[in-house]
Symmetry: C2
Subunit: 207 residues, 2 copies
DNA sequence: TAATATATAAACTGTTCAGTTTAGTTTATT
DNA sequence: AATAAACTAAACTGAACAGTTTATATATTA
């Protein structure tokens, strides 16, 4: 079940540490979170934390990975199943937008972007356990739709990169930069519909 | 000419300080840059720096604003002029992509995203002097094209949000996260053409 | 040339914080 | 109950760093 990604680990308070770290990192960011805050939140001694994680950065990496995986597993699910492409894309877009705009999603994004220069593996691991998953899923989905004659796409990889971007449509940037603190359901729907509409108008087969 | 945005300012080494700060912030990020590094780079005393800028954050804000303004002034220029919509969009897309993927553009983005939680005005000022400018320019351009019957767009604001996102198409994310360290001209063209193609296939008027 | 502005180097203050160490305690296992 | 593994609190180390102060120097202006 809750495998620790890397080769670190022992004992029984691992989850407790990770949960405390999650809370504090999500609240205060990477630099903003002190290890002392984390141990206090986790109800654990500093020595225990350091017996699990060699340093703060690795601890954050573990938190980010587990968050990402949880979210993108949920977001990926079966696009499969539903026969209608338009419907499937709408569903997928909904999941994506809600993920991008969730507190956790945005906070992880902020931290990862901010720290990936100093700690490149943070960027890599985040990408691999988040955006990459979605991208791969979309590529599979689009390839299937193409081979079934439901879509017509020359460059599937490009299309798989375009769709998630369309799902941001300015909202993500505004939220991440703190220009707004909420987005209404109407706006979300408007963006989703706009994304699907635009995507289908290029790649949909004429009927 | 080089007005200092806010109401701070005096004497003759202002530019020198700003230039040194620019260099160091762009190289090391916000937290990574120490004020001592900056004064060393600028060839200026710490006291002088602090006589111009009340604190490090404000100093960075000034750097970010001036970078942003320079870049987005250049990027905005006249889309106007050229009568062909497709051509104008292609040109604009080229400027945008090259801006997103430039060292300065990415570094400012990284820092702003990373720090805008702790310092909300950084996010606001960045947005106002960068993305907002582009957005407004696009809205004006699209409205004109619509009224001239060259494009058909219901929701111009949405379209103006979609186009820049299309210009990112995964590349921006990969670069910002440090998964790549360069993008070929071919890839850039592919993304630009893809963006224009998709945009026109929805909003272009049938001919 | 005297007076005023601006600049400088360098030492200092105060704080924050990651990571370590120590000496002792709790929990599980046999 | 004995033993070992995991945990604890708390003090400590060492370094980094923002911002201040002081005493001095160099331009600029009147």
């Amino acid at each position: 079940m809750n495998a620790p990604g890397s080769v670190l680990k022992q004992g029984r308070k691992w989850d407790q540490v990770l949960e405390g770290a999650r809370t504090v990192f999500m609240r205060d960011g990477f630099e903003g979170a002190s290890v002392d805050d984390i141990v206090r939140e986790a109800g654990v001694s500093k020595a225990t934390l350091y017996s699990y994680f060699p340093d703060k950065r690795l601890l954050f990496l573990e938190v980010a990975k587990s968050e990402c995986k949880a979210q993108s597993d949920a977001a990926i699910q079966q696009i499969e199943g539903s026969g209608d492409v338009r419907e499937a894309l709408t569903t997928a877009a909904g999941r994506m937008v809600r993920f991008f705009l969730s507190d956790v999603g945005m906070q992880v994004f902020r931290i990862v972007v901010g720290e990936s220069q100093r700690f490149p593996e943070i960027g890599r691991e985040f990408y691999a356990s988040g955006p990459q998953m979605v991208r791969d899923m979309l590529i599979r989905f689009l390839n299937r739709a193409v081979s079934e004659g439901k879509l017509q796409i020359d460059d599937v990889a490009l299309a798989a990169d375009q769709f998630p971007e369309l799902c941001k449509a300015g909202l993500h940037m505004q939220m991440v930069l703190g220009l707004r603190d909420a987005v209404s359901e109407e706006e979300i729907d408007r963006v989703i519909d706009g994304a699907v509409e635009m995507f289908m108008s290029q790649y949909g087969v004429a009927r």
